[in-house]
């Protein structure tokens, strides 16, 4: 047996239990680094592993305490007891509540929140309704609304392998030039998602989370907002983000060349080249 190149990562994972609206949850949380709290939200149907590159990046963790958690039903977080008797559907209120609850449970002092896709949408809701709780918000692949472009029932039916169809649906959302290892790791996370979870998340993404009519009420003077979007994303498109940028005074937005819908996971190094200037800006003002 030959073993070499052993590397123990600085990421520490723990489980946290809490009750929200009379439901007991067991939530998986991981973190790395010290400094300004940076709470990261994964995409629909995936989990915290999407932020593995960020949490291993010393240029981030020397200034930021990076915290990620798996939403209930996702990754290593359990669905609440009785899950087998309900259909999972993520709504704006539940999503907001879990973020505020985790912020409070972890005693995070006005964290920066960065979310991707559904996470990029919910940061808009946070900007609108809870700006004072956060020192900055970063939306990755943010759009105000996405109409479904395929029948979502394909994602959860017993005669189609859920993991494979979910990965098949999102595979084209990875930028074509993103490294193969990161591409397939990103898809693997989708293949491991629980039955119906991706579909349930898309209820928020395609219906309940529509924030188009409220965009102009977002006040970036209360909490600054940055938007970063990959140019190959056809789900939340660069045009969708450009529209946000034009509609929300004071927001700062940029299109990331060559990247797709999962910037932090599909090409962590290239993503950092776009994110670090934003983090520099946050560091300078905090």
């Amino acid at each position: 047996m030959s073993i070499s190149n052993i590397a123990i990562e600085p990421i520490i994972g723990r489980y946290l239990q809490l009750t929200i609206h009379d439901k007991r949850h067991r939530i998986y949380v991981e973190e790395a680094g010290e400094g300004i709290p940076l709470l990261c939200l994964h995409t629909a149907g995936s989990d915290t592993r999407q932020y593995r590159g960020l949490m291993n990046a010393a240029e981030v963790t020397k200034r930021f305490r990076v915290i990620c958690f798996d939403l209930p039903w996702h990754g290593k977080s359990s669905p609440p007891a009785g899950w087998h008797e309900e259909s999972y559907k993520l709504g704006s209120k539940e999503y907001t509540d879990i973020i505020l609850a985790m912020t409070s449970a972890l005693s995070l002092d006005r964290p920066v929140v960065m979310g991707c896709s559904i996470g990029g949408r919910i940061v808009l809701h946070l900007a609108l309704h809870h700006a004072k709780h956060f020192r900055g918000l970063i939306g990755l692949q943010s759009g105000a609304h996405v109409d479904p472009y395929y029948d979502l029932d394909w994602l959860h039916r017993p005669d189609v392998h859920g993991g494979e169809v979910c990965a098949g649906i999102v595979s084209g959302l990875v930028g074509p030039s993103s490294p193969q290892a990161h591409r397939w790791e990103t898809l693997w996370h989708y293949m491991q998602s629980g039955p119906g979870v991706f579909k349930g998340d898309l209820h928020f993404y395609t219906a309940d989370g529509d924030i188009r009519k409220d965009l102009t009420r977002i006040n970036t003077e209360e909490c600054p907002l940055w938007l970063l979007t990959g140019e190959y994303d056809y789900s939340c498109t660069p045009d969708d983000t450009a529209l946000l940028g034009k509609s929300i005074p004071g927001s700062k937005w940029q299109i990331m060349k060559g990247m797709g819908h999962f910037p932090m996971s599909e090409d962590p190094e290239r993503f950092l080249s776009y994110l670090l200037p934003v983090l520099d800006e946050i560091s300078e003002t905090n």
């Binding site: 189609v160 392998h161 649906i169 595979s171 084209g172 074509p176 056809y234």
Partner: protein, 128 residues
Amino acid sequence: MIDIQDSLTRLPERFNQKRVLVQHAKRLNTRFLLISGDASFRIEIHEGSVAAVQTGPFIMGEWDFCMQADEATWQTFWSPNPPPGFHDVMALSKARKLSIQGNIYPFMSNLLYFKELLSTVRARGANK
């Protein structure tokens, strides 16, 4: 630009060597029609392998589902480094540049397989 007819007729030799994909799709048997502008091609999959590619027109032909786009769309999709929006069939579908109709169960239940199959047509030098 590729010669679409030539590229499609060479699909069996180019795709069937992808042993893991073919083996994984061993329960897949289907025929689908690919329409490029005025040209049409019927591609038959037998136990995961591309068994035949026939060139139309077809009189009273049979197939499970049909993928239709104009030739310029397919040419861009199959270019070595397709631009955003042309790099994936779901992107083309969302943009209404490609229609996928009929009994799409074989397609959706083997989505990664069909994406790889169609990518195999892509001109050399592609990123994926």
